[in-house]
Amino acid sequence: MDTILTVLNAILPALYGAAAVLYGLLLARDLPLARRAGTRLLVATVVLHVGYVVLGGVWAGRHPIADKFEMFSFAALSMAVSYLWVEWRRKNAYTGVFPLSLAFLLQACASLGRGERRELPEILRNPLFAWHSASAAVAVAALSVGAVYGGLFLVMYRLLKRGDLGPFTERMPSLDALSAMSLHAVEVGFVALTLAVGSGDLWVHGSPGLSMADPQVWTTFAVWAVYGAALLGRYAAHWGGWRIVALNLAGYAVLFGSLLTVGRVFETFHRFTGRP
């Protein structure tokens, strides 16, 4: 089983990369072949990735999202699944290159960082930690999708403002569709983030030796507050257009920055004993 996992670990980034290239060709050249091949390859990749996650959990005899690399991998899978859903719902495959490039980067990080699967320390065997890590991964994926579509919204907004009616604006979904896709993803991400924060809080309070005085916790609260403000603006003040998208992107910048820097500076997601 270890061999299968090693092979899947090696080929998953390549598959995501190849799918991103095919979707990129579709956007740039509008090749029907790229459309068919891209979707099929992505579906196959997702199936393999689900197998990889399940096998990993079975082989290690624990839940499969216990460290940051496993979380990155699960986030890549969640992004690919949410993109496939978007493609199916919107009947538009031209945006695939953007979320899949991000999924490729996440999976490449996950595959490069994958080490030997070790026994989990007692503190991480708590089911609340499994909830916490899975919902955090879903939140990262959904907020990443929201950021991708938010970014595309801003590009389209600028182009249409300038009166650029070229092939890019023709192939992309409409501005209101991009805004809705970004908003829906953010809503899902916000709920998942809230679950991650809630389950994390319960986990910390139920585990001696853990503390909320953790830089990852602080930045997560900051991210949660920014996204909460964006959603409040949308539903309470009826904000529309780029204001919401700009707030979403600000929230994602904080999230992405925290994932990159906090982990690097403090060497772990959370400052506690018995890290995996």
């Binding site: 249409l160 979904p173 209101d176 003040a237 009826h238 529309g240 780029w242």
Partner: protein
Amino acid sequence: MAPGTVPLRVVGVSHHTAPLEVRETLAFDPDEAADFLARGYREECWTEAMLLSTCNRTEIYASPGPGCRDGGLESRLAAARPRMRDAAPEILYRNEGAGAVRHLVRVACGLDSMILGETEIAGQVRDAHVTAREAGTAGPLLERVVQAALRISRRAREETGIHRGVGSVPAAALAVARRHFSDFRDRRVLVVGAGEAARIGAKLFAGERPGALWITNRTPARAVSLASDVRAATWSWPCVEGALADVDVVLSAVRAPEPVFGYEALRAAARRRAGRMLVLLDIGVPRSVDPRARDLEGVFLHDVDALERLVDQDREKRLAEVVKVEAMVEEGLARILLGEERSAAEPVVAEIRRSLEELRAREVERSLRYFAPEQREHLDRLTRSLLDKAFHEPMRTLRESGPDAPRESWVRRLFGLRRRDGGKGRGA
């Protein structure tokens, strides 16, 4: 296959040969078309007929029976539309056989349309065929040819970009509005003006089933008339700037010396909209929207120059697809003609089979007394199988090669079949 093998003729007038003022006098509505076809079918010797009448063409497709006079279609058209007699004879074009089929296929694919690649024409061909069927003048030939033409047209749309993009400025305006809004069902649209461009634009937007569609015009009676045509409501002209806070799309197709939508009104509206998109499609000349609207948050302005550029780009893209569609037309035409050849051979093949089966049954009957009752079924099966196997290849070859007149006569003599005129073949 030589032209003329498919017994189909077309005579018609289109935007290529006649101006609008002539074409509009030759147009038929569906009831008139059905009446024209039924009368022609009764009084002429057509075996099948169909009339295609759109704003850009009036064409009769007919399969003339034996003894049909030349010029019958033209004189029938002239009788129905007397204005034809005053028009120059060159406005009529004629084609027959494979040429007529090719023409129908090209028409269905939008290759002969005023707006290259337009898709409405395929529906109009389908409607013309339905009308002919209801009038009782469409038969198996038109069924095969029209269905094949529609199949090729569908394939052209699916596999090429011949229909992509926009063909007119109002259509470009709708296409640009779609880059802002994917669904108009909960959007409100205001059309300013009641001229030709406004009318076309209003119809296009009405087809999107918007949440609300309003028409406004300096002359209220014209706004009311257009609104009733497209099932819209009217908006009061003096309050037109007030609409900016409420609507999502404005299609302005009005000639005005001063902008209808001034900067101050636009700025006030943008403030009240709090970032909600307002799309202004200004297709009037001189411009009816202050160009400084582009500087306002959430306001998008697309003027006639930008929209015309889009039309030009799309026309070039469609032109680039023509070669591919023409190749599909020729490929499809070859299939249609082959199918026609095969179906033309069917009566002869059926006659040969019938004749051989009679011979077999007669000989089996004569020999039955030499066989035990339990062997008779085997005998029947054996002779049938022998006959099927021995004649399978010749029948296939006959179907594929198709019977031209000398070949059919030779085959009939070979198998001792009656001639079509009732004469007796050798040895039958």
